[in-house]
Symmetry: C2
Subunit: 569 residues, 2 copies
């Protein structure tokens, strides 16, 4: 492609963009904003998008998923059937047609695909079936920002699988999981498959694929030594089983701590560490109050408490409930001398503590030298806190660290969530009617493009992995007005094209500085420069990532190419 | 692909579908309707769609058009700028986002692309630029019908070119025109490029590409001998220049023709041919009345009259105007004895007539034996009628016939229609500000799929051209319960895949009749059947289009394949 007539308007600065990917994709002329969260892909940006799509398509086809294309306009009735017309909230874009019929602009296609299958597939013999599509999706984000990382119209790959039994779903899930590993590896992404909470279906039934990046909105707990990764809510905290050392604990003492409510305030006031203070939190689990104790330096994990109690709803108690149960306002709660009998759950770390500080259940007072069993009873010891940096990896015993992540994919066992309410059923082997068992599998295609940029750039611009680079080689003629340079560059251009290499030829009548700056922004993996030594048949190459380059005689280029290209992989 | 788990639900009858393409695509399980005019592409249908897209993409890339992807959500303000928010009418689908901002769902992208370019390209040096995209479009048809031929959400390729001068536009237009010829030829379509009216830009500045088919909504006038084709409005009627033969014409006579108003009624009442009667029509051209005369067996062409008069608006006169000018109600108009002086335009064929019948400008009366010049004056003789079957081809002198056509593409010189109102300008070579000169070029991708089916089917199903067939070979194992057949079929399947051939393997435990019926519906070009002679290593092949087939020894298949595949081209 000749750059002279390519629409690739570069910018030297972009005021409004915060994220690096947003900045660089704008600067390099890969995208332009049409409205908040709504972007046009310009030629270079489209090329990358298309390459990502192609990799996704190849890996989907490889596991036998069948490509379809479902409409963006969904009759509202389908979303009413599943209750999501209400529950999806204001992110759901809606419209009426000329006859006043209501439609939803598809943000996802569970309703439409279940509707399709329920009409067409009614026997276990035809299952499993896996279908996917690559398509623009619509989600009316309240504050779209971050460029392609969170848009209102964006490109998704969504897939759905249908099964007659759980084992078949498990098998397909494993195939998708592996395909996702392949896809994100081929995209050159540093990512982790993260265990995530899937509600009713249990622990290993959903994974989020996270591109590791400071630009991410999610926090991932991951192991420094092994592949373990989990979102914080899900990560199990390892307990070494060590009992507390039986030391001599002074007798319990009440002390005035006027106005000192937070752990930090209390610790500072008493000149002790936060880990010597116990945080007491009163929850209402399905109408029953429960007091949960964690160490002052730990964070509570409500999901774990909810799962521990098997509760369907769990909420922090309101102030009136706190006073009714504990006799004091929050900030002064503790397990000693409660007004009402209430179940006390302690985190493992609390059970290991000696000589703790707790609230006195009396405004402006705490208790020092508290020792459980001696001064109060714990009803249940359990893992109820969030994992922290430095904790032990539940998989290998290594050390946990935190990282920010961008969710670029998820695989999810839906079960019968949709098939039941929509009467999507089959006759099973015994002639019995059963709802389909379903899985769903998403990849944010345009978000993946931005994630690649977040991970692959330097201060001068983007550095595309070869697999998704818009072109493999950026051929720059330094001075097109110099006839020798222009004709040597033309010769190289023709030669590279003959070799079947995707090459962008900067044939613009621009100054060298502009050309190199634009070239760095574009991030094409290999640059070939035709400059002042063109007359002697000398050209130069440079690897965008490593910066490694050299001069080369024109007649050696063809021979050198395979090695140069290999280095880009 | 193994058919057992493919989503390809065939139907034996479809009540609601009228068009053959609609019927067959439903029956063969290529598409399903989600809502009126809104379709899902199932795996086989998607494969065809994708192949059509790929052909379009290849030909667009070949002429240097750059692929982009513009949003479907357009801020309404852009459509207000061009006045199309109103003028587009109720086919424009509209919605509001959560903040009450108004959006249009793009049916076409002139506004968005002009908005993009006006921000980015401001010098003639960067032009010409041609951009295209392949994308779902939205148009709220009042009565969506005919399946993919006229939907509300459909796949389009739209392209836009930007130029600094007219010559550059002409050049690009020619490239697109040729690319369209290539595309539709590769799709296996019988089509014509038809001259169409482009309003202000003149005669050869817009072409519609019509797939010839009885299912079409348009009528095309085309030559039996040459490539000439035109929509009826545009086709020039050739006049041999022959003067009327000077025969003795009896004296003009008024006769009562009570209640006989139409040409047919008058001709029948007087027992003469329609071509002996003159049809007189009063038009109001920009407030000025004009009487137009055409032969009774001809159809009036308002576009020609409008162009002839250089009028901006032309309409048939209302009854009150007719009476004011002619003194009689319509049905009895004529050029003799008009109440008011009015310009009289006659079609060439009228100027050639002798002894005509015209209205008497008196209710229930006509005049016989009328001779122009003797009885009334013609102010201007011109081509003001529609071309007809049997007329002379304006290009080669051959014979015109009519055909129905489906519009599958158009190329259009927009000129400055959008750039002027949207201030899309460049500095030209002289440093002067000029609006872009634009072209636009569309292809209905999903409509092309349906058009192919309209042209390629028989009573048993679709017959895909090899270029867009979902698979090249349909391998049918007649009886999968027979182990020999199953294993021979499996062997053939593996072999064909190894050869890189796209093959669909019917491995379903269905009866032979079902398999062959489904196979005919699918329309895959070559069938290979593994049946009862599998034990002897004998299989069969059959060309879906020609019906030609034969038995073949397994070990000869590999050698025979190249020839068999060549026949499918």
């Amino acid at each position: 492609m000749r750059q002279k007539h390519m629409l690739s308007p570069t910018l030297r600065s972009v005021a409004e963009a915060e994220m690096m990917s947003h900045q660089l994709l704008l600067k390099a002329g890969f995208i332009r904003q049409l409205a908040a969260g709504i972007y046009s892909f310009l030629p270079l940006g489209f090329k990358v998008l298309h390459k990502v799509e192609t990799i996704v398509r190849e890996e989907m086809d490889k596991i036998g998923a069948q490509e379809v294309l479902l409409p963006s306009l969904h009759p509202s009735e389908l979303w009413e059937e599943t209750g999501r017309k209400k529950s999806y909230g204001p992110e759901l874009m809606q419209l009426q047609d000329r006859h006043g019929r209501e439609f939803v602009l598809g943000p996802t296609h569970e309703e439409v695909i279940t509707d399709l299958l329920r009409d067409e597939v009614n026997s276990y013999k035809k299952l499993p079936i896996s279908l996917y599509q690559i398509q623009s999706k619509f989600r009316d984000e309240r504050r779209p920002r971050s460029g392609l990382l969170r848009g209102r119209e964006f490109m998704m790959k969504d897939a759905y699988s249908f099964h007659a039994n759980r084992a078949s779903l498990d098998e397909q899930y494993a195939l998708f999981y592996q395909a996702y590993q392949n896809i994100f590896s081929r995209l050159g992404l540093d990512f982790r498959a993260v265990e995530a909470d899937s509600g009713a279906m249990g622990g290993t039934d959903t994974h989020e694929f996270m591109a590791l990046s400071e630009a991410g909105e999610d926090t991932v707990a991951m192991c420094l030594s092994c592949e373990y990764a989990s979102n914080i809510e899900m990560a199990k905290v390892m307990h070494d089983g060590g009992q507390r050392t039986q030391i001599e604990v002074p007798v319990l003492t009440e002390i005035e701590t006027k106005g000192q409510k937070t752990i930090a305030e209390v610790a500072s006031f008493l000149d002790i560490q936060a880990e010597q203070v116990v945080k007491s939190l009163l929850f209402i689990a399905d109408d029953t109050p429960v007091l949960v104790l964690i160490r002052g330096d730990h964070d509570i994990n409500e999901v774990k408490i909810k799962n521990l109690l098997g509760a369907s709803v769990i909420e922090l108690a309101e102030e009136s409930q706190v006073i009714a149960v504990c006799g004091a306002p929050s900030g002064y709660l503790g397990p000693v001398g409660l007004k009402k009998q209430v179940k006390v759950i302690a985190d493992h770390a609390v059970a290991d503590m000696n000589d703790m500080v707790v609230g006195a259940n009396k405004k402006d007072y705490h208790l020092r030298h508290v020792q459980h069993t001696r001064d109060f009873e714990i009803d249940e010891v359990a893992d109820v806190r969030n994992i922290q940096t430095g904790d032990t990896c539940p998989s290998c015993g290594g050390q946990i660290q935190f990282s920010r992540g961008i969710e670029i994919g998820h695989v999810f066992k839906l079960g019968t969530r949709y098939s039941e309410v929509m009467s999507g059923t089959i006759l099973d082997e015994n002639g019995k009617t059963q709802p389909y068992i379903m899985g769903c599998y998403g990849i944010g295609i345009s978000r993946a493009v931005a994630s690649i940029v977040e991970q692959h750039h330097d201060e001068n611009g983007i550095i595309w992995p070869a697999s998704v680079a818009p072109y493999a080689i950026h051929l720059i003629a330094v001075n097109m007005k110099n006839e020798t340079q222009a004709s040597v560059a033309e010769e190289v251009y023709q030669m590279l094209q003959k070799e079947g290499i995707e090459v962008l030829f900067d044939d613009r009548p621009e100054r060298a500085g502009v050309k190199f700056k634009d070239g760095d922004l574009f991030g094409i993996p290999l640059r070939i420069t035709v400059g002042s030594k063109a007359g002697e048949g000398i050209i130069e190459y440079k690897n965008r990532r490593s910066g490694v380059g050299d001069a080369l005689h024109l007649q050696d280029l063809s021979k050198a190419l395979p090695d140069l290209m290999k280095e880009l992989m």
